[in-house]
C-alpha cells in the first residue's frame, strides 16, 4: 500500500475533525425527488439555510423548486443542490474533512444494493423504534451494475473546499443486512454438517460482495482522484464468530489499492473486535461511536468516561491506526456542550498519549437529527476540540 506524505500528514493532524456520512435530507430535497408538491415553508427552508451556509446562487434552487413537480433532470439538479448544501453545512461548522451528507444517495445499504446485480428486494425491516431499512435477498450472481459513487464524487470534488473522505458501505455489512437465497438454502435442520456448510456459504457470499461489488467501486473512485475512502461497517461486529470474515472482506476489498482506507464501526460491543482486527493492517483509521454509551457528566478520568473504556485496545493495535473518537450521540437531540466534548477528547488523548492518533467525530451519521440540531452538535464538537487544543497547548 502506497500512501503519500500529504496523505499521512492529513491523517496525523492532531484532533482532526470530520463527519461520518449522512445528514438528514431537507424536506425540499425529499419532496422534489418524490415528485410531491413543494410548500412555501420548504422554499423558506431552502432560502434560510442557503443564506446561513453561504451557498452561492441558492436563489436558483428556490426558483427551481417553484417549478415542482420536476422532470428527471430537474430532480437530479435538486439532488445536486442537496450536495452543495451538505458540503456547505459541514464546511460552515468548521470540519477539517467533509463530504456531502450523502444527499444524492437513498440510504447506505439501499443505495449500494440498488446499483448491484444479483439482489431482489424483500420489504422493510425495522432497525429501531420507527426507523426501518429496505432489505434485499441475494438471488443471483453478484456484480456491479455501475460504479455508484462516481457521479456524486465528481460533483462533490468540484464544489468542496475542504478535504474529502468518501463513505462507502462495506462488504460485510451489505452481506449481513441481506437475506441469502443463493449461497445457503438448506432448511433441513437435522442435516449432518449443516453448520460448516452454512459458514462456508456465508464466506463465499461476503467475499463475492467484496470482490465483485466493493472493490471495483473503490477502483473507480480512486481513478477519479479519491484519496480517503471510509468503509462503513456498522454490521462489522454483529456476529462475533465472523470477525475473521469481516477482516478478510476488508482486506480483499482494499488490498493493493492506492488510497487511504478507514473503517467506521458503531453501536456494537467493541470488545468483540479484538483480536480479530489485528489483521486489518491496511486500515489507517477506525472511526468508532462511543458517546452513545457514555455519561453526560464532565470529567476526564476513566470513571468519568464509561463509554470509552475500550480505547486502550484500539491504542494497542500493532499497526498503530488513528482512532476517530465518537463524541456526539446521534440518537438524541441533546446538544453536547463544548466542555463535554473537550473532556471526551482529553480523556482519549490521555489514553493514547498522542493527539496525532486521535480524530474527533460524531458517533455515526447524523441523518436522524434535524439540520438545526445536527448543526449545533457539530458546532459544539468543533468548539470542544478547540478547547481541548488549548488545554493541550496545540495550535
Amino acid at each position: 500500500m502506497r500512501t503519500t506524505q500529504a496523505e499521512i500528514e492529513l491523517l496525523t493532524k492532531p484532533l482532526l475533525t470530520h463527519e461520518l456520512g449522512s445528514l438528514a435530507k431537507p424536506n425540499w430535497r425529499v419532496k422534489a425527488a418524490a415528485g410531491a408538491p413543494i410548500e412555501e415553508g420548504d422554499l423558506e427552508d431552502a432560502r434560510t439555510w442557503g443564506r446561513r451556509l453561504g451557498i452561492e446562487g441558492h436563489e436558483e434552487l428556490v426558483e427551481l423548486l417553484r417549478r415542482a413537480p420536476l422532470d428527471p433532470d430537474g430532480k437530479a439538479e435538486v439532488k445536486r443542490w442537496g450536495s452543495r448544501y451538505g458540503v456547505g453545512f459541514l464546511e460552515r461548522v468548521g470540519l477539517d474533512v467533509v463530504y456531502d451528507g450523502e444527499q444524492q444517495r437513498s440510504e447506505m445499504y439501499q443505495w449500494a444494493v440498488a446499483h448491484a446485480e444479483g439482489f431482489e428486494w424483500r420489504g422493510s425491516v425495522r432497525a429501531f423504534d420507527n426507523k426501518y431499512y429496505s432489505k434485499a435477498a441475494v438471488t443471483g450472481p453478484i456484480g456491479l451494475r455501475v460504479p455508484y459513487h462516481n457521479e456524486e464524487f465528481s460533483f462533490v470534488r468540484d464544489v468542496a473546499r475542504a478535504e474529502l473522505k468518501v463513505p462507502i458501505t462495506g462488504a460485510y455489512t451489505i452481506s449481513d443486512w441481506s437475506f441469502d437465497e443463493r449461497y445457503f438454502t438448506d432448511t433441513d435442520l437435522g442435516a449432518p454438517g449443516r453448520p460448516k456448510r452454512r459458514r462456508d456459504a456465508r464466506r463465499s457470499f461476503i467475499l463475492d460482495v467484496a470482490r465483485r461489488l466493493i472493490r471495483p467501486n473503490l477502483e473507480a473512485l480512486i481513478g477519479l482522484g479519491a484519496r480517503w475512502l471510509q468503509i462503513d461497517e456498522p454490521g462489522g461486529s454483529t456476529e462475533p464468530d465472523e470477525l475473521d470474515l469481516f477482516v478478510e472482506s476488508f482486506n480483499v476489498s482494499v488490498e493493493g489499492l492506492d488510497a487511504v482506507f478507514s473503517t467506521h464501526l458503531c453501536f456494537s460491543d467493541y470488545d468483540l473486535f479484538f483480536p480479530g482486527i489485528e489483521g486489518m493492517t491496511a486500515c489507517r483509521q477506525f472511526a468508532v461511536g462511543f458517546a452513545n454509551y457514555d455519561s453526560r457528566d464532565l470529567g476526564v478520568g476513566e470513571e468519568d468516561r464509561p463509554g470509552y473504556r475500550v480505547l486502550p485496545k484500539f491504542r494497542d493495535l500493532p499497526y498503530r491506526p488513528v482512532l476517530g473518537v465518537g463524541v456526539l450521540d446521534i440518537h438524541t437531540d441533546f446538544v453536547e456542550p463544548p466542555e463535554l466534548v473537550c473532556d471526551r477528547v482529553l480523556h482519549s488523548v490521555d489514553v493514547f498519549g498522542d493527539p496525532a492518533r486521535i480524530h474527533v467525530i460524531p458517533d455515526c451519521g447524523l441523518r436522524t437529527r434535524s439540520w438545526d440540531v445536527a448543526f449545533r452538535k457539530l458546532q459544539n464538537m468543533v468548539a470542544g476540540v478547540e478547547l481541548a487544543k488549548e488545554r493541550l497547548g496545540l495550535d
Binding site: N27, R122, G123, S124, V125, R126, A127, F128, D129, N130, Y132, Y133, K135, A137, D176, W177, F179, D180, E181, T185, T187, D188, L189, G190, P234, G235, T238, E239, P240, F267, S268, D269, N292, Y293, H331, T332
Partner: protein, 322 residues
C-alpha cells in the same frame, strides 16, 4: 393419514411480528409531521386484523396481536414503570436491529401496562410475549447486582405484567430468552433464575407459561434449563443440534422449527419430519410449535409465508394431512 405423535400439540407465533409497509409509511410520516396519530392507529388496526386473519387461516392454536405497536420487547414495561427509562440504543444480539436498554432504579416496580397491550382486540385463546427475567436483567443498564435485579424485575415488573395478561384472558405467556442461548449463564445464577421464572409462573395463574431460547446453541445449558418451573422450555433448532439435547426432556417442548431470520421458506413436510424425530427422541410432555426467533426480522414479505408454513407443519405433525 399419519398418526398423531403427541397428545397435546399447539402452534403459535411468538414475539414481534413485522409491520406492514403501510404501517412503516404511517409511522415514518407521523415522525415527519406528514400525518396524524389517527391515521397511524388505523394502519396498526389494519395490520392487526391482517395478522389475525393470517393466523386463523394457518390454523394456529393461540392468537397474537404481533406486538405490532411495541417499539421493542421491553418498551411497554419500561413505559409502565415510572422509575425506568429507555434511552440508550443497543444492538439486538447479532442483528441489524436495536433496542433501547431499560435503565433506572435498582428496584423497578410496574405501575401499569399500556392499555393496548391487554386490550388488543385479539380473541381467545391468546398468546402474549414478555422478556424473560434473565434477559431483562442482562440487557438493562444497571449498577445493581444483575441477579438481584433479575429477582426484582421478576417480582415487581414481569410477574405483575404476567398476572394482568393472565387476568385479561391470555392463555399462553411466552417468555423470550435469547440471552441464555447467545451468551450463556454462570452456574451461580441458575438458582436465582429458577426463582425468578417461578415468580412469573406463579403470578400467571390460569395461563400456560413457557420459556423459549434462541439465537444460539442451548445444548450446553439444556440439562438445567429443562428443569425450570415452567410448562415448556423452548429450543431454537436452527442453532441447536437435536442430538445434543438430554433425554427425556421431562417437560413440555417449544420447538423453534423455522428460521425467523432467513427468507428461505422451509418445506413443511421436512420440518414436520424433524419435529417428529425430536418428539421421538426427547419425549416431551407437550409440544408447542413456533419459529426459532420471532419473525420481525424476516420482514413483511416473508413472515406471512412462514406463518403459513408453521400452520402446515402443525397439521403434518398432528397427522391432519393425508
Amino acid at each position: 393419514m399419519t398418526p398423531p405423535v403427541q397428545s397435546f400439540v399447539a402452534a403459535y407465533q411468538h414475539g414481534i411480528y413485522p409491520r406492514s409497509e403501510a404501517v412503516v409509511q404511517a409511522t415514518r410520516d407521523l415522525e415527519r409531521g406528514r400525518t396524524d396519530p389517527a391515521a397511524v392507529d388505523e394502519a396498526f388496526r389494519s395490520d392487526r386484523e391482517a395478522f389475525l386473519a393470517l393466523q386463523r387461516r394457518a390454523g394456529l392454536d393461540y392468537l397474537s396481536d404481533g406486538l405490532l405497536r411495541w417499539q421493542d420487547l421491553f418498551r411497554p414495561l419500561v413505559d409502565g414503570t415510572p422509575t425506568l427509562e429507555a434511552r440508550v440504543l443497543v444492538r439486538w444480539f447479532d442483528n441489524n436491529s436495536f433496542f433501547r436498554a431499560p435503565e433506572g432504579a435498582e428496584t423497578p416496580r410496574l405501575s401499569e401496562l399500556p392499555a393496548w397491550v391487554l386490550e388488543d382486540g385479539i380473541p381467545e385463546p391468546r398468546v402474549g410475549s414478555l422478556p424473560s427475567p434473565y434477559l431483562f436483567s442482562r440487557v438493562a443498564l444497571a449498577r445493581a447486582d444483575r441477579d438481584d435485579l433479575m429477582a426484582g424485575v421478576a417480582r415487581d415488573v414481569l410477574a405483575p405484567a404476567a398476572r394482568r395478561m393472565s387476568d385479561a384472558g391470555f392463555g399462553l405467556i411466552h417468555l423470550e430468552e435469547p440471552w441464555l442461548a447467545y451468551a450463556g449463564i454462570d452456574d451461580a445464577a441458575w438458582d436465582r433464575f429458577e426463582e425468578a421464572v417461578g415468580a412469573v409462573r406463579e403470578a400467571a395463574t390460569g395461563a400456560t407459561v413457557v420459556l423459549h431460547t434462541y439465537y444460539g446453541d442451548v445444548a450446553p445449558h439444556a440439562d438445567r434449563l429443562r428443569r425450570l418451573p415452567v410448562d415448556a422450555v423452548g429450543v431454537d433448532f436452527v442453532e441447536t443440534d437435536l442430538e445434543a439435547l438430554p433425554t427425556p426432556w421431562e417437560t413440555g417442548l417449544v420447538a423453534g422449527c423455522l428460521d425467523g431470520r432467513s427468507s428461505v421458506l422451509e418445506d413443511a413436510a421436512a420440518v414436520a419430519a424433524f419435529v417428529r424425530r425430536a418428539v421421538d427422541r426427547l419425549e416431551p410432555t407437550s409440544l408447542y410449535l413456533t419459529s426459532g426467533s420471532d419473525l420481525e426480522l424476516a420482514g413483511p414479505e416473508v413472515a406471512p409465508r412462514k406463518v403459513e408454513v408453521l400452520g402446515e407443519v402443525a397439521r403434518e405433525v398432528r397427522g391432519e394431512t393425508a
